[in-house]
Amino acid sequence: MTLIAAQNITVRFGSTDILSGVSLAVQPAEIVTIVGPNGSGKSTLLRAILGIQPLAAGTLNRAPNLRIGYVPQRLHIDRPIPMTARRFLSLPQRCTDAQATAVLARCGVAGVENRQLADLSGGQLQRVLLARALLNEPDILILDEPTQGLDQPGEAAFYQLIADVRRDTGAAVLLVSHDLHVVMAASDRVICLNGHICCEGTPDVVRDAPEYRALFGFGTQGALALYRHDHDHSHGPSLTHVHGPNCGHDHGHSHHTETQKEPHKHA
């Protein structure tokens, strides 16, 4: 049974199509990752799927009584509202203290019950958000760049946790990321988005797809895969790397080694 099916959805802001003709379906217990550069409509797609963003065209079907656990990109906690982590877990469905303790421990933030949300670090807050999403025993977890504010070990642990949750509960996972190299390994299917779906498939297939290369260049995954394919393509890595200047992730470094190594390779 398909949990969520989107057919040819188009989202328009003013006269600009942010998404055009995007179709995707999520099956139970699969991990689907949406990757794409900044401004490619990743978050908008999630918001459309959640029903927050109105569609200009297309249809969206959800399985009846689908329980969704949503972890937003970041929760902007305003100072004015006093809210402990424990109280937050009971919004909007109340949970017992035992449930709260267990789910917080599972998410690696045991003991934060009485801390104010506004006092939590970015990483702790993301874990509390995940804990809240899990309480509902979701059929599908929807996560929008959930590891912002986590360091690299924290990020790896977070994705491991999500993989464990999928294994233990059979929940599907739909997640948006641009931390490609970390996410790819854990995903069953990757969708490469840039206003429309450029390519999709297993991580291997997408990584090798020319459309994906055109968007992300070559420096974003493991070095072996990179050099295996270097000579297949006429376009060089630095030419095809189209990230904006404020693109925050860290592959500039692998990019560097690549350009350093390249002369050796071709020499």
Partner: protein, 263 residues
């Protein structure tokens, strides 16, 4: 017991505090301070319309306050520069209200009552009206409490939980309009939003949960009413402003106490 005007005044004031405490907490959390201003200033226009059309004043104020609250709510949902829009609306509503009311014969003398309230002249009917309004608002907020809190924290999370943020916003808007209609006689159009904001803001620095903050806001509001009435009686000061002055002193005290408490 209700024969004593001071008892009636105290009970009416406490009724207002019961309504404005929890609602004021939402006003603070959602940064709707100017929203309260626009809505309460529109009440004057409501009074003028009610008098001109010979309708009950409560009905007129509630109708115009609701219209204003819905307008503001719709504009802010469309992403208008909220600050400016509300500033324009709040003060034009007040100006138009005052102009309109000058056309109604025989009301000029009551103008200060409209602006600053006339709590010492509260009748039994007024009292019933205040408490009925407070009961409706309390029931509405209790009924929607979990959904309102979720929406206030994050509209996206509310959406994902199957709630409709627009509906929750409407609940608050209606509650605000009822509060304005109810509190006009007690603290006056100029100070209704003070009664919303100041007790809730005072409660903020002393609270660790939303429920505690809402309850504390009611208590602080009620204490301000009682102390303000005493002040007014002893020093012959206007009652509405005296109440708000006490609330402001409590706010100052809360700001000083809070850091000491957490030390």
């Amino acid at each position: 017991m209700l024969d004593d005007f001071l008892t009636r005044a105290a009970l009416a004031g406490i009724g207002v505090a019961v309504a404005t405490g929890p609602l004021g907490a939402f006003v603070v959390w959602r940064r709707m301070a100017y929203f309260g201003d626009a809505t309460s200033h529109a009440a004057i226009l409501g009074v003028a319309l009610a008098l001109a059309l010979s309708l009950p004043i409560g009905l007129g104020t509630m109708f115009v306050a609701l219209a204003m609250a819905l307008t503001v709510s719709a504009l802010s949902a469309r992403g208008w520069a909220v600050d400016t829009t509300l500033g324009v609306l709040a003060h034009s509503a007040l100006a138009f209200g005052l102009v309109a009311i000058s056309f109604v014969p025989g009301v000029r003398a009551d103008l200060s009552g409209l602006l600053f309230g006339d709590i010492l002249a509260v009748s039994r009917t007024d009292l019933a009206y205040v408490w009925a309004g407070a009961a409706v608002i309390t029931a509405l907020l209790l009924w929607r409490w979990q959904a309102l809190l979720t929406t206030t924290l994050s509209e996206d999370l509310a959406h994902a939980s199957g709630l409709n943020p627009d509906r929750e916003r409407l609940a608050l808007t209606v509650a605000l309009a009822i509060t304005v209609a109810v509190a006009l006689k007690i603290v006056g159009a100029l100070l209704i939003s003070a009664m919303l904001i100041i007790p809730a803001a005072s409660a903020r620095s002393l609270s660790r949960s939303p429920e505690v903050m809402a309850l504390l806001a009611v208590i602080i509001g009620a204490v301000s009413v009682l102390a303000g009435l005493q002040l007014s009686l002893h020093f012959d000061t206007p009652a509405g402003p005296s109440i708000i002055a006490v609330a402001a002193l409590i706010f100052t005290a809360s700001v000083v106490i809070a850091p000491l408490k957490s030390r």
